[in-house]
Symmetry: D4
Subunit: 247 residues, 8 copies
């Protein structure tokens, strides 16, 4: 990996002096995929692309193709996706809004399972679709209801009957995150809050929405990290597999 | 004010060497009351007791009595109140829940004025009553509806018709402060948010409720400092006096 | 509620001028209990005692007794409990470690339901027992395994077989909260993290443990507010009732 | 919305498996506009463009055109505006300084209403004009006085007579926000503070100005989120409509 | 210093095994006073009592008495002062408001030097007097003008002529600290800001006032730590001694 | 200023409906320069370019040229400078490292005045030169000693004799800012700390260096905002003019 | 552990319904001591008393006595120590300054090992002695040099020869923590920084000192948590045992 | 360094009026290299490129070449590297992943020394390689094991035997940093934690990982600044040279 640049490299192979000590022959790039994660904890290995170089992402896809494994990639910007070589890109089902890609050598047909997603605003849709696609990747079909924030509460109440029928309600909201408490005060299903970084001023970065979820006056709200639609989907999948194994 | 303690004080009157330079003869204790504030900005001088010594508070009450002026004291703990001398205490109408006291040599009869107060939880009542008493001190009678947080939204909706008739709605809430957005999404009156320090964990100190008010997705919410029921009342009084001078 | 103190009170009943506008005859103290919460959202009304006055807590207990309802009180310090009148105290099953009390006119027999609690350290036990008692209040018997933090990982691994059989694993940890990720990387059940305020320096207040739960590298961890054992129990109860209604 | 990219898309229409569940036929993009907001809460629906994709913004404009509705767009960067198609752009009255655009099929003639705007510095002008244009959008003509910060207090005092005549004074200031307190200590009108993100070092992001507004020693200051000129305008409009319905 | 408690102490003098390695015979308690500080940097050694045990404070006073040196003690609470032995107490000129004490074996007569102190509120007086007494300890007589915050700007302007004549203006303010900018925009003397921890909500602890001083739009404001009246006095003394050595 | 874009602008001159209310004929762009600042507070008007548009900066320069005034511009990035028209650029003495420019129609000859600047690292030089040029703009010649941080303390000690002779020592440091305390513990001159945003991790943004200056164990350190070399220079100038008017 | 209080306890043994699931017969109180920690990681099990109840601490001591093991207790306040029963207290060598206690059934004789401790101020001594006693508990005799902060740099330089001879230098400092960088810039030994919570204003809690250690311009400084003298000692012990096993 | 731009520069050489006062003839650019650092503190001078201009970096390399010294450059982005002139670039062994470059006129052959590096994730590799190359620069060959985070604990345990043999274990982790505690609870070697800025939401910037290291429940973990692989390497080198001088 270290680039040998200039006449000194032959004389002083500094990086080469301390070679990587990878776990298996294909991981000499510092990559060790956890292929049996799904068996052990109930959700499949996935790759967080933010923070990785384009080369590392490409290498991971190749490793999965080599093993004939499916793979979900998250936080993959359109710009970064465009940097991948065409032979890699064409193997990925990419969605630029949610910044997710799926490498798929045989996904299950996704079926309804009593899980749904509610987004407070249009801007929260990107994270909501990340959750939706992560659920689909694991075979769970989840409807998504968008733009029903509490500034116009009627939008949420119009869908209340449908939402109240779900066993798990993934609520995606930024800004002040009031929808978490409103929803959790109205339904019997578990509310998994996904705070988003949508907003400005004190809402910048998403901490306000996160803290609203954590401090909710409605009992039983649980939350995941800011913008972590993938994490909410994983929690739902684990529950479905523990409580309703046939799904 | 400096206590002269021990044999050195006669020789070295350190503090006395630099006497306070007060604005008028009665302010040699470092106190300059702004008696014409009500004329200038529309709300009367009031005294924030937190941070002042018992002696300073007592001195201020005496100054007001001397001038035959009314006075509102806020953030006056019951313990601090008990430290005041009986001759001072008996002149004050004290409410331990809201930690307010009124020195009153002729308050106006308070009348309804289209301002009301809504408290999310029982714990927010202390701050709500602070606002209520500050309004009454200025002649404004404001109803208070308590314990109608969004965990049980029906409690708020049960009162919606009454609340929607108010021109100014003071909403008092701690924890995640979702009531600010819910109320502002339902009524035409101005919502003045009073975030409170009620809550624990990430809600400790009130920043979560404050940020929820500021980042509200419902347009037109304004806010005051945490636990500042007095400030919300002042804003309402200023508006009433500008828009409806007869009140 | 406002104390009428001194000769001015008869002339200027300030607080009385704007009476509380309660929802029903028994709520003239600013208390509106949400008795049908259990039907609506799956968990029963409970009372957060932190931030409430002793009088308010006592009044709430009386309201519940009058209606012949059970009630869970949380964050009730031993000192505050001791201030309650004996006639109130004797109706409460109080546990000083978890600061919980139960008013019980006929609790269900609690039964095992595939939910368990793991505490990282002895100091986390208070919050863990809060969760345990909140589950028992709703009829769910949950075993609790204590003092198995990752400083001595063998302690956790010794119990792994038992923990891995649970459908929901409530993990209670303060300090750096590493146990959240370790547990979630090993079991198929949903990990509900309860960060605690145990620790000092950068761990003071619990934000470090909270952030560890949110940023966990193990997929599917969900979290509740710092020290909120009650909230984790509520989430578990909602899930059990949605997925396994007979429980 | 999900882009179908590459040969896998036909076989595995992941996103399509869980279609959006929008509120009306034109909202299949995750957009539900709150057309009756003005009737319900007194201010019209507006669109916060920050956080939305160019496609979403364009779609919203088309929805409004279809319904023959006016619309205000905020936080619309010049770069983003330039990405819109010419057919959309030409329908918008765009101001790059305030990053606002107005889609206008028949705006009211704006009239003076006792509301004015004061900006501390030239850099605060962008947010001040956002407020001014949001007021004009609702038919309120508001004068704006710029660059009168307290470093040269004479600049503010020169305008004091004019400012003191306003019923509502929107004060826009960044850095340390001292102008909020100075103004509120001098005028009878309600001061609505709009802290801005102008400044560097500890003033970066605007929290210093925001906290100055909240902690003001002058009674009755209310505040909105950092850079939220639109929100201050909304509060003013709600008040004008409640107190002076003919406006 | 380690207390030997119980039968193990004789056998295992743990602390004694690693004796303190003090700089001189009288510092075996871990105390090394910097007696030549005044010569080196222009201000005398002083003792910050917060964080020290009563025994350590007493020992320091004894060391100074032994050497026949004067000494200033700061942040000495009245309760802590009361714990000192009478023989120590009687040597100290103690002021409970500013929590300062002076051990004085021959202080200079303090003379006017063009330095003055302005306090925004009565609650800021404690810190202002700390500065005043620290100046007096070094022979500088500084007038103090109190309770002239910007909520009633006339109070400050009434004293403007006097203040404008000072070469150094120590401004003490809590809450939003607007007085720093107002003063610095009006006078030619250097404004040294002393933010205080006076206030609540976002002003708790004093960070809001501190940030206002740092972000001041008026050029040339310098600041010291929150509540550090002593530090502002030291800066003034250093300047006086550099620029006007005869003082 | 609002751009009239598209066919709606003629019909709906929204911004024009509420014209700016500037202080003098040349300030219709929202600019009011404080030309008599130097007389009033001892330092000249200067322009903080960060946060202003290129048009606003150009307009300010033109205003100064019209009045035949000198002007200092700070935080003017090289990129922004390049956007100015050549006729403006050629009137400015621009320094890209310190991001300062001087419009000069007759600057005084700067002379030594007992003020000097010390920079901890090479990266702090930009802020140090900002201070140096702001001093020169006011006629004060200040030597600058660079790259003498405490990692190699000998570098500072090598210059100690020179530094100790200065009456005012401007110390510029980022990262942990240890040089503030080291210098203040060694010299009699006033140390004005200028914390910089140099550093990464916990030092990002400069808060660590700022807090080190404020919490310095060496008495009498004063500080200005992060990266505010200009502010430190202003403080020095004010002192020189008060104490040594001939300078 | 749960207190059975009142007549309901017999009928509803809530806590008893879900018994603790301890790891061994003596841990039914939620305590599992890691007796083989010293073998595994090189330092012995120790007990952080902060956050534990008095009963839990007493129980732990009894467990150690039963097993004939030595034990170190940290953060044990004098007040808490006094609450222990005399039979427990008399087995502990307690030091109130450092809040440490040692249960000792045969400690090794501690010997010099090239480790020393430097404290910046007298107030830091408590944490320094915690480190010293933790080292002694493991058989390492470490000299401690106190009150040598950089405000008077000569105090540190006077000891430089001694300090430079140590292989590991534990530096304990609060406030701005400048001593970390000064020491690390002068010695070859590893500097382990122990930031303390000594200080006020921005130094409150110790974050300023911590960040100074982390952002030090001197290469190779490592740090532990605020006030964690114990942790620094453990690091030193691990190093000594790895590099010089005979010690 | 100041650019003389425009006709005013000849008349008003502002910057030239106050020339830099460098320590030696080659440092007239504000650069003073600490060439004897390695002798004094055990690690060589290195250059943090972040925050320096391209010209400053180039000048430093030239200074080193002139003195025939080796040099390590850190945080040198590939983009910045590309801006250097070819004659400078060709002298540097540059690695874009770790952003390090080595100017080498005779590096030692690096040899194994009982130090190793463990990276939690692939994204942490950049910082891990920075440590590895800094060690190599000082002659220490350190193996690196990558992508063994606790989400799949088996990956770490597979390497436990190898890791447990190291005397110093540099652990590099972002997100929640659980690997620090897991490793420190399993090995006798000193764990030096290097938290990284890898992650999003609450993990943004690396504070969560940093706090996990500091609050670790495993005794003896020490930490360096976020992303400071170089610092961890320096600590290791200092230890090796103190304890095993022949290395």
């Amino acid at each position: 990996m270290p680039v040998q640049d200039g006449p000194f490299s032959a004389l002083h192979p500094i990086a080469a002096a301390a070679p990587f000590c990878g776990a298996d022959p294909v991981s000499d790039e510092g990559i060790v995929l956890d292929w049996n994660r799904e068996t052990r904890v109930g959700v499949a290995e996935a790759v967080l692309c933010a923070g990785k170089t384009t080369e590392q992402i490409a290498r991971i896809v190749v490793l999965a193709v080599t093993r004939n494994r499916s793979l979900l990639l998250t936080k993959l910007d359109a710009g970064r996706f465009a940097e991948l070589e065409p032979t890699v890109r064409e193997r990925l089902n990419f969605d630029p809004l949610s910044r997710t890609a799926v490498l798929d050598n045989g996904l299950p047909i996704s079926v309804p399972a009593g899980v749904g997603i509610v987004c407070a605003g249009t801007s929260d849709l990107a994270v909501g679709v990340e959750a939706q696609r992560a659920l689909a990747f694991h075979g769970v079909q989840a409807p998504l209801i968008a733009d029903v924030g509490v500034a116009g509460l009627w939008r949420f109440l119009d869908h209340l009957e449908q939402i109240a029928a779900w066993r798990i309600v993934i609520v995606v909201a930024g800004m002040e995150g009031a929808l978490f408490s409103v929803a959790a005060g109205q339904v019997r299903g578990l509310v998994i809050a996904v705070p988003t970084s949508v907003g400005y001023g004190v809402a910048t970065g998403g901490a306000t929405a996160l803290h609203s979820a954590l401090a909710s006056c409605a009992p039983g709200v649980v939350t995941v990290n800011i913008d972590n639609g993938f994490g909410a989907a994983c929690a739902a999948i684990k529950l479905l597999r523990m409580f309703a194994p046939s799904q």
